[in-house]
């Protein structure tokens, strides 16, 4: 096992409020690592720093051993760090086909070519088709994304991140708002991702977390409270007290 994504002493404050409190975090190659914690624990702030949406106040971030702390967002994507968003961020007027073709064309370095024809690019077509089939979007690939049901939009969101062929995929509450019946299907596509893609999963649904995660980090008030295998975390008294405790009382 080797580390693909690491943070060293990562620190972020908004005015007087500390949102990320000196976090040392390691994502191992091939892991499905869940980041859990109560609302306001700083999970999304943490992910936003990893992907470059927010600049950390202090500390470093390394992807494959290289410092990416100050790189712009799109460069991190090109280096292999892709993400989904808690609230869908899609291209509303595009079709799933166009959106996946866009991500693929950027990954293949076609994006700056103004006279290139998409339909005369076998490599782009093959990869776009592969992603659409893998995420079961082939039947709806020509419909406008804005008109798709929410569960399908969520699927497009994950497919678009995966189309960047990342080595690290950050999934920010992928199942949020998805009806119970469709959650399993959604998460099984995530579980079926190739083993060389390391996944960092932020999720509230504990059932999904304990089913899919190989490792869990618990974040409370911006600080790492515990880390370990799902069994270890489930047995940890501090975690039960701070977080899972609520569920135990119900």
């Amino acid at each position: 096992m080797s580390a693909v994504l690491q943070t060293f002493d990562l620190y972020k404050s908004f005015g007087g409020i500390t949102a990320t409190d000196h976090v040392d975090f390691t994502l191992q190659r091939g892991a499905c690592h869940a980041l859990i914690g109560p609302n306001g624990a700083g999970k999304t702030t943490f992910v936003n720093q990893l992907t470059g949406v927010l600049r950390p106040t202090g500390g470093r971030i390394a992807l494959m051993g290289e410092d990416i702390t100050k790189l712009p967002r799109e460069t991190r994507v090109r280096r292999g760090l892709a993400r989904t968003f808690q609230i869908n961020q899609l291209f509303a007027t595009m079709t799933p086909l166009e959106m996946i073709a866009l991500v693929t064309s950027e990954r293949l370095g076609r994006g700056a070519r103004p006279f290139h024809a998409l339909d005369r690019d076998p490599e782009l077509i093959a990869e776009t088709a592969e992603i659409l089939s893998r995420f079961r979007l082939d039947d709806i690939m020509d419909q406008r994304i804005a008109t798709l049901p929410y569960g399908k939009q969520r699927q497009v969101e994950i497919a678009a991140a995966f189309a960047a062929k990342p080595s690290v995929l950050l999934l920010d509450e992928p199942a949020a708002g998805v009806p119970e019946a469709e959650r399993r299907e959604l998460m099984s596509t995530v579980a079926a991702l190739p083993a060389d893609v390391s996944v960092l999963l932020i999720e509230h649904d504990m059932d999904l977390v304990f089913r899919f995660a190989t490792r869990i980090t618990v974040l409370v008030n911006g600080r790492v409270l515990a880390e370990g295998t799902p069994d270890e975390v489930a047995r940890n008294p501090a975690v039960r007290e701070a977080y899972l405790g609520e569920a135990a009382h119900v």
Binding site: M94, E98, A101, S105, A112, R113, P114, D119, A129
Partner: protein, 335 residues
């Protein structure tokens, strides 16, 4: 479905955006035939073609990249003065003037793009407006070069391609402007259907997701802005060459404002909006000006208010129906 079969479907679907619609072919045939159908209206047709090119330019940034502008006249004026000065002092060849006009405006677009591209829609409106105002005053102050309020006079144009002399009826002018419009339209059509064009739509739809998909938003927008500026410069060059005169009016605010109206009438984001809008706007202006020369602005204003309040859906619906009929006609013929 097997993988190769599905790839074929993906290819066909990607091709659909580039395929020529029969209504498009009809549109261009009609535009070409217009100088035979309306031989006395060549001057008006020429104005329409130039306004259409200018509107196409705004559509490239507004409709495809989502950049709003109230100062697009800056590039029209730059192209007009560049082409006019070149014709007066260096060479009377129209195509050289066209190239210089496009290059000058494109360069100005590239240089001003860092100012325009930061910030929100509102700051963009203000900055584009500001840049156009600055250019207007510069052109006014440097009267020795530009002719100031008197305009740049004494432009004599050579024949197009060394073959076609400009005539007083405006026939060569129209065919020249229309040819330039058509060629630049073909380029725009190609560009908007390319990966580059797709990335512009991505930025317009959702800049956050665009950058999370690996798109360098700033660079792409700057490139699109410079391209659109060059298009506006071409419109300006055509204006200078076919009227053989450049006045400060080419940099005036009303040019930019009219252009917005043209795109509102025609609709943005599908390339033909500026063209259709230009035809409608100029014909309307011409018709109203004929029966009430002094108060035509009043009627244009009234029309626009009614149009935006509800007429737009009706007219755009009618255009879609007509286009749909043409599509069926084309398919029928193909069988």
């Amino acid at each position: 479905m097997s993988a190769p079969a599905f790839e074929t479907r993906v290819r066909q679907s990607l091709y659909a955006g580039r395929r020529w619609h029969p209504a498009e072919i009809a549109f261009w045939l009609l535009a070409g035939a217009a100088c035979l159908l309306f031989p006395r209206q060549s001057l008006l047709l020429n104005e329409i073609a130039i306004l259409a090119l200018f509107a196409l330019s705004l559509d490239l940034i507004l409709g495809f990249a989502g950049i709003v502008s109230l100062g697009h006249a800056a590039f029209l004026g730059t192209g007009a003065y560049a082409a006019g000065l070149l014709a007066k002092h260096v060479t009377a060849d129209p195509l050289a003037g066209l190239g210089v006009g496009m290059a000058a405006a494109g360069l100005l677009g590239l240089v001003t793009s860092p100012l325009v591209l930061r910030g929100t829609d509102l700051t963009r409106l203000m900055i584009t407006l500001g840049v156009a105002l600055i250019l207007y005053e510069l052109a006014n102050s440097f009267g020795g070069l530009t002719g100031g309020a008197d305009g740049l006079q004494g432009i004599m144009m050579g024949p197009v391609l060394g073959l076609f002399d400009f005539d007083i009826f405006g026939r060569t002018a129209y065919l020249y402007s229309l040819s330039v419009l058509f060629v630049l339209f073909l380029v725009a059509r190609r560009v908007t259907n390319s990966p580059f064009g797709l990335s512009l739509r991505a930025i317009r739809d959702n800049p956050l997701r665009a950058s999370a998909s690996g798109v360098p938003n700033g660079k792409r927008l700057a490139a699109a802005y410079a391209l659109a500026a060059a298009y506006a410069g071409a419109a300006g060059a055509l204006l200078a060459q076919t009227t053989q005169f450049v006045s400060l009016d080419v940099l005036d605010f009303h040019r930019s404002a009219d252009l917005t109206l043209v795109l509102i009438i025609g609709g943005a984001g599908y390339l033909y909006g500026g063209l259709i809008g230009a035809v409608a706007f100029k014909l309307l202006q011409d018709a109203i000006a004929t029966f009430t020369p002094q108060y035509w602005m009043f009627w244009i204003g009234l029309f626009l208010v009614l149009f935006v309040l509800g007429g737009r859906e009706i007219i755009h619906g009618a255009i879609k129906t007509v286009a749909g009929r043409f599509a069926r006609l084309g398919k029928g013929a193909a069988r």
